[in-house]
Symmetry: C2
Subunit: 142 residues, 2 copies
DNA sequence: TATGGTTGTAATAAGTATAGTTACAACAAA
DNA sequence: TTTGTTGTAACTATACTTATTACAACCATA
């Protein structure tokens, strides 16, 4: 399965918040306009980003902002905020392998460290990319 | 979303085929016994592995075998065989970002190379692990 | 050549995740 | 008090995973 579009959506949203922060009040409707997804979806993602401390959202008056320096928000932060993976594990195991079989009894132990290496490699790369990189490249293109 | 259990299941299946190759005819029913999943699921995965050239499956008489040296079958081979990801892309993009918005117009281009780096990091680690590693560790535990 | 065990596959179902949509109470500022 | 916004519940549609039943196609061998 692919990693859900919530992740790219979250990056899109954060980028918009920074690009338009001086000229617009960046509401969920505004963000829905740029991303072309439903405002309620935007609000859900904003809620997840808020819970992770990656955005401030103003109740009532409205508008979102980013409370941290952009180079301190990595893709890994965003990924963890919006992609709720069970036990934080990238790979899903089939339940209840047969304990009476020598392979079934040991497969989990044998695979665990190797799959963790794969996950760590991916996460290391995710943490090497920050919103600052995205803003630099985006501003270059605008 | 997590990567589906088809992947760990496929590794389990391949491990069984090699461990039991001298003592049993390794059929889908036999494999279903060790993995504790339905024989039809096993046959589907065997079909995908077969299409990728990672196993031979005998029609009629039954039984599966591995036609290649174990150190030439990597986790990446297995991953690609069973995990059918759209366009081979790990990250799913939200469709139709607003082309009239400077962010929506550029977000895909800005993210593409960075997400590809993440995917490549993961795939590089996957390709560094082979069935030979799994067999060595499994035999140690048996 | 008939048998029996096996594979390949279709059809169906339940469970779960994503994504869209409507509706509305809670909220804050003007 | 009005207005615009957020947070959230409820419902729907779609899609993927996994399980299961059923059966035709297949093939070694008795």
């Amino acid at each position: 399965m692919q990693i859900s579009s919530r992740f790219t959506l979250a990056v899109h949203i954060l980028t918009c918040i920074d690009v338009f922060k001086d000229d617009y009040k960046v509401t969920s409707d505004f963000l829905a306009g740029s991303t072309n997804v439903n405002p309620v979806i935007v609000r859900k993602i904003l809620g997840q980003l808020k819970a992770a401390g990656l955005v401030n959202v103003a109740r009532g008056s409205g508008g979102a902002s980013i409370p941290r320096p952009l180079n301190e928000i990595s893709f890994l932060d965003i990924y963890h905020a919006v992609e709720c993976i069970e036990n934080g594990e990238l790979f899903h195991f089939h339940e209840n392998p047969n304990g009476d079989c020598p392979v079934g009894r040991n497969i989990h132990v044998v695979l665990d460290d190797k799959l963790m290496r794969v996950q760590k490699a991916m996460e290391a790369e995710l943490s090497s990319i920050t919103l600052e990189d995205i803003m630099r490249d985006t501003r270059k293109l605008i």
